[in-house]
C-alpha cells in the first residue's frame, strides 16, 4: 500500500470512528428513555391525508414535517428549510432545504418533493383546509437544484411563513402510489413518528421514526430521533372521562376543565400548566340587518358588558377579559388599544340606548324599541353548558341596563349555518388562530355568507386588511394590524369578551416536556424513564 493508500485508509478509519462515536453518543443519550405517550384528542379523529383533512393537530404533525416552525419567541425558524431569503419586492421566497431529510418510504425530501406538495396545496381543486392562501398567491415554483427552490408569488403576503409553517409535507411517490382514497389511512411523511396502527374512530398508534434527525434546534435539545418509543392518540372527547384517565395514568396528557383545576393541582401525580389560548369568545352582530346596522347601538352593548365579571362567572377568573379583536396570544395584539375600546360603563350604555330611542315605556325595567313596541334581542348560542352559562351571564348584564335578551340555543353546526343566512341577529362564537390575518377572513366582503358572520365590511377596512396582509416588515405590519384593530373596535361589529384559559395536565412521570406559547405541546424531547 502506498502513502496515499494509507492516507485514504486512515481517513476512512477516522470517519468510521467519528460515526461510531456519534452513534454511541446518541445511544447514550437515548438510554433509559422511552415509553408510550398516550393523549386524548377527539378532534383528530379525521383523515390523516393533509389534502383533505379539515383538522390538523397531533397526528398530522407527528407524521409530517413542515418547512418552517415557530420558535418560543414566536419567530419563524427552519424545520425542513435550512436557509431562506425574501426578494426585495417581497414576492419571491428562495428556500434552501436541509439535505439529509428523507420520507419514511426512503425517498428524499428535496426541492422536487416540495414543489409537488406546494403545487398540490395551490391547486384550486384541492380541498385542503390549510394552505388555501397559495391558490391565489402562488404563481410558480422554480427549482434550482436538488435542495433549493424559489416560490414566486403574485403579491407580497405577510402571513406566508405562517402558512408554510402549517403545511404538512407528504411523500409524493407514496401519495401517487397509494392514491388519494387510501393515503389517509396509510400516510407517509418524514416527521418524528410513523403510523403503526389506525383503528378508525378508536385510536392511532405511532412508532418513533428512527431516521428522524431534523428537529428544529430552536425548539428541541437534540435533533432526533425522539426519545419516546410510541405515541398513541385516543379519539375520546368526554372531558370527565379524559380527566379520570389522566388521574389513573391511562393517558399522560389532557386538557383540564376549569371546574376540575383545583383537584388536578392538588394531585401530586399531575403537573398542571395554566396559560391562555390563542382563541377568543365574542358576540357578533349581523350588521346587514336592522337595527344592528347602527354602530352606536352595537357600541352600547359593548359598554353594557362587564368583561371582568364575565370571566369570573364563566371561567372562575381563569380567562382574560378582552377589549379588541386580537387576543394577547396572537401576534399583532396591541395593549394600548384597550384604552380606546369601549369598556364596562352601564351609565353610558343606558344613555346611548336612551338617545337611540330604546326606552322603557311600560315600566317593567326592560326597554321597548324606538316605536314603543316590545323589543327582543335574539342571541344564538351553542348548546354545551359552558356556552349557555356565558350567554346567561350576558343576559343578566344586559338586562341590568334594560336590554331584553332572548337566548336561542342551537347545535354548533346549526349555529354556524345560521350566521351564513343573513337572517340572524346576535351570535356568541369563538375563533382560534395564530396570525392576525384571521381578521381578513372575518371581514372580507367576499366572505359574507361564509366566514364573515357579522356581514361587516367597508372599503376602508378592506384596504386596511390588504395593507396588513401584504406588509412583510414586522414593525410596519404591526402598525398596519393596529390600524385594522382600531377600525374594527370603532365600528364594533363584535363585542369582544374573553381569552379562554388553556389548562393542561401532564403526568408527573413524563419528563422534559414543554408547552409552546401557542399552547401546543412540545414532546419530541419528552420521555418516560425506562429500565
Amino acid at each position: 500500500m502506498n502513502k496515499s493508500g494509507f492516507a485514504v485508509l486512515a481517513l476512512v478509519l477516522l470517519a468510521a470512528l467519528l460515526m461510531g462515536g456519534v452513534v454511541v453518543a446518541q445511544d447514550d443519550m437515548m438510554a433509559g428513555k422511552g415509553g408510550r405517550l398516550v393523549v386524548a384528542d377527539a378532534n383528530s379523529n379525521t383523515s390523516f391525508d393533509p389534502f383533505v383533512s379539515s383538522w390538523h393537530s397531533w397526528p398530522h404533525y407527528a407524521i409530517y414535517p413542515t418547512l418552517f416552525s415557530r420558535a418560543l419567541d414566536m419567530s419563524y425558524v427552519g424545520y425542513l428549510a435550512d436557509s431562506w431569503e425574501v426578494s426585495e419586492d417581497s414576492k419571491s421566497l428562495t428556500i434552501n432545504l436541509i439535505d439529509y431529510a428523507t420520507f419514511t418510504d426512503g425517498t428524499p425530501i428535496d426541492a422536487a418533493a416540495l414543489k409537488w406538495n406546494l403545487e398540490k396545496y395551490a391547486d384550486p381543486e384541492s380541498t385542503a383546509s390549510t394552505g388555501r392562501a397559495l391558490i391565489t398567491l402562488l404563481d410558480n415554483i422554480e427549482v434550482h437544484d436538488d435542495y433549493s427552490f424559489t416560490m414566486h408569488m403574485n403579491s407580497p403576503h405577510a402571513p406566508l411563513f405562517f402558512v408554510l409553517a402549517g403545511l404538512e409535507i407528504v411523500s409524493p411517490a407514496a401519495y401517487e402510489a397509494i392514491g388519494p382514497d387510501d393515503f389517509g389511512t396509510n400516510p407517509v411523511g418524514g416527521g418524528p413518528f410513523i403510523l403503526k396502527e389506525l383503528v378508525t374512530d378508536n385510536y392511532a398508534l405511532f412508532e418513533r421514526n428512527p431516521d428522524f434527525t431534523w428537529a428544529p434546534p430552536e425548539l428541541y435539545d437534540h435533533p432526533g430521533p425522539v426519545f419516546l418509543d410510541q405515541l398513541q392518540i385516543l379519539f375520546i372527547g368526554e372531558e370527565q372521562t379524559v380527566l379520570a384517565a389522566l388521574e389513573t395514568g391511562e393517558i399522560s396528557l389532557a386538557g383540564i376543565p376549569t371546574q376540575n383545576l383545583a383537584d388536578a393541582q392538588a394531585n401530586p401525580d399531575i403537573d398542571v400548566h395554566v396559560a391562555q389560548l390563542s382563541q377568543i369568545r365574542y358576540v357578533g352582530f349581523n350588521t346587514s340587518k336592522d337595527p344592528w346596522t347602527n354602530p352606536d347601538l352595537r357600541k352600547a352593548f359593548a359598554y353594557a358588558t362587564d368583561r371582568q365579571e364575565f370571566v369570573t362567572l364563566a371561567w372562575d377568573d381563569l380567562a382574560q377579559p378582552l377589549y379588541q379583536p386580537l387576543p394577547p396570544t396572537i401576534w399583532g395584539h396591541n395593549p394600548e388599544l384597550d384604552e380606546i375600546a369601549p369598556s364596562f360603563d352601564p351609565d353610558k350604555a343606558m344613555a346611548m340606548l336612551d338617545e337611540l330611542g330604546y326606552v322603557d315605556v311600560d315600566g317593567d325595567g326592560l326597554r321597548e324599541d324606538p316605536e314603543g313596541n316590545a323589543w327582543t334581542v335574539p342571541l344564538a348560542t351553542a348548546s354545551p353548558d359552558e356556552w349557555l352559562r356565558q350567554a346567561e351571564v350576558l343576559e343578566a348584564q344586559w338586562r341590568a341596563v334594560g336590554i331584553p335578551l332572548q337566548i336561542d340555543v342551537l347545535e354548533f353546526a346549526a349555529l354556524v349555518d345560521l350566521t351564513t343566512t343573513g337572517t340572524h341577529d346576535l351570535f356568541l362564537l369563538l375563533y382560534g388562530y395564530q396570525d392576525p390575518s384571521i381578521l381578513t377572513y372575518f371581514f372580507d366582503p367576499e366572505r359574507k355568507g361564509g366566514s364573515n358572520r357579522a356581514w361587516f365590511s367597508t372599503d376602508e377596512l378592506t384596504d386596511l386588511l390588504v395593507a396588513a396582509d401584504s406588509q412583510l416588515d414586522p414593525d410596519l405590519r404591526y402598525e398596519a394590524v393596529t390600524a385594522v384593530s382600531t377600525y374594527i373596535i370603532e365600528a364594533s361589529p363584535w363585542v369582544y369578551l374573553a381569552v379562554p384559559p388553556a389548562l393542561t395536565g401532564v403526568r408527573a412521570e413524563l419528563m422534559n416536556w414543554r408547552i409552546h406559547p401557542d399552547t401546543s405541546f412540545l414532546y419530541w424531547n419528552a420521555y418516560f424513564e425506562t429500565e
Binding site: 383533505v52 383546509s129 374512530d201 385516543l234 379519539f235 370527565q240 377572513y441 361564509g450
Partner: protein
C-alpha cells in the same frame, strides 16, 4: 308443517323488511338535505374557505346535484352494497360501521343478558314473595335502578372502580375488563325494567285458574313456577328485551361516550355533528335493520315460548 309455515313467515317478514328499511332511509335522506341546518361542505372546508372553495367541495361530495338525483345515485350504490365514503374519515361507510358494530353488539348482548337475568330473578322473587320484606326491598331497588341516569352511573362507576380502587380501566375496548363498567351501566336500567315487568306479569299469571289448578293437584311450588307460570310470564318480557336489543344495537350513545367505546352510537352522534350524510345514512340503515331483525327474532321466539301462537 309448523316448520313450513314458519319458513314462509320468516321469508315474508324479510321481504317486508326491505321496503321498510328503504322507507326509513328515504325519509332520513330527504330530512338531512331539506330540514337539517348545516352544510357538510362548509364544515369540511373550515372557517377560512372562500365561497368558491366551498362550492368545489360541494361538487366533490355530489351535493351540488338536485336532491332527487342524489337520491337515485344513493339508491344505485346502495343496491350494490356501497353506502358511500364518510365525509369525515374518507373511508367507506360500510367499513367504518363494520369496525364499530362489534363493540356495540358486544355491550348490547352482554348488558341485555346480565340485565335480563338479574331482572328476571328480582321480578320472580318479588312476585312470589309479594307483600313481604323481600318484595319491598325488591321494589325499592328496582325503582332506584330505574331512576339512575346513565351518565351519572357511568361516571360514578369510573370514580369508584377506576379512579378510587384502580381495579378497572377508565376507557377503551381492548380487553374484557374494559367492558365491565359499560355493561354494568346499561344492565342496571335493563334489570330494573325487566324486574318490574316480570313482577307484574308473574303476579297476574300466579292468580290464574290453571296455576291454581296445578297447585291444587299437589305439584311442588317450584315446579308450578318453572313449568306453568314462568313460560307465560316471559311473553311480555321477550317483547321488551327485543326492543332493548334493537335500541342498543343502534348505539348506546351516552355509555359509549363516557367509556370511550368506539361503537355505533358515538359514530352516529359524531356523524350528525359533522353533517357526515353518508355516515348518518349508514347508521340509520343499521338501526332500522337491527330493529327489523330483532323483531323477527322476537316473533319466532314467541312461537316457541307460547304454543298458542302460530304464524299461518
Amino acid at each position: 308443517m309448523v316448520g313450513g309455515f314458519m319458513s314462509k313467515y320468516i321469508l315474508r317478514r324479510i321481504l317486508i323488511a326491505f321496503p321498510l328499511i328503504l322507507a326509513v332511509t328515504t325519509v332520513v335522506f330527504v330530512m338531512l338535505r331539506v330540514a337539517l341546518p348545516g352544510d357538510p361542505a362548509k364544515l369540511m372546508a373550515g372557517d377560512r374557505a372562500s365561497p368558491e372553495q366551498v362550492e368545489i367541495i360541494r361538487r366533490k361530495l355530489g351535493l351540488d346535484r338536485p336532491v332527487i338525483e342524489q337520491y337515485f345515485i344513493f339508491l344505485r350504490n346502495f343496491a350494490q352494497g356501497d353506502l358511500g365514503r364518510s365525509v369525515k374519515f374518507r373511508e367507506p361507510v360500510l367499513g367504518v360501521i363494520a369496525k364499530a358494530f362489534p363493540f356495540t353488539a358486544k355491550i348490547t348482548l352482554l348488558s341485555v343478558t346480565v340485565g335480563t337475568t338479574i331482572g328476571l330473578l328480582i321480578g320472580i322473587m318479588t312476585a312470589v314473595y309479594q307483600r313481604t320484606w323481600i318484595d319491598n326491598v325488591g321494589i325499592v331497588v328496582t325503582v332506584f335502578f330505574f331512576s339512575i341516569p346513565t351518565f351519572w352511573l357511568g361516571l360514578m362507576l369510573i370514580l369508584i372502580f377506576a379512579v378510587g380502587l384502580r381495579v378497572l380501566p377508565v376507557q377503551g375496548a381492548s380487553s374484557w375488563r374494559h367492558f365491565i363498567m359499560p355493561v354494568a351501566t346499561l344492565a342496571v336500567g335493563q334489570s330494573a325494567l325487566i324486574a318490574r315487568l316480570t313482577r307484574s306479569s308473574m303476579i297476574e299469571v300466579l292468580s290464574t285458574d290453571y296455576v291454581r289448578t296445578a297447585r291444587s293437584k299437589g305439584l311442588a311450588p317450584r315446579r308450578v313456577l318453572a313449568s306453568h307460570a314462568l313460560q307465560n310470564t316471559l311473553i311480555p318480557v321477550i317483547t321488551v328485551v327485543g326492543l332493548s336489543v334493537g335500541g342498543l344495537l343502534g348505539g348506546a350513545v351516552i355509555t359509549e361516550s363516557i367509556f370511550g367505546l368506539p361503537g355505533v352510537g358515538r359514530l352516529a352522534i359524531d356523524a350528525i355533528s359533522n353533517r357526515d350524510y353518508p355516515m348518518i345514512q349508514g347508521t340509520v340503515i343499521l338501526v332500522a335493520a337491527s330493529f327489523v331483525f330483532v323483531n323477527l327474532l322476537v316473533d319466532i321466539i314467541y312461537a316457541f315460548v307460547d304454543p298458542r301462537i302460530r304464524y299461518e
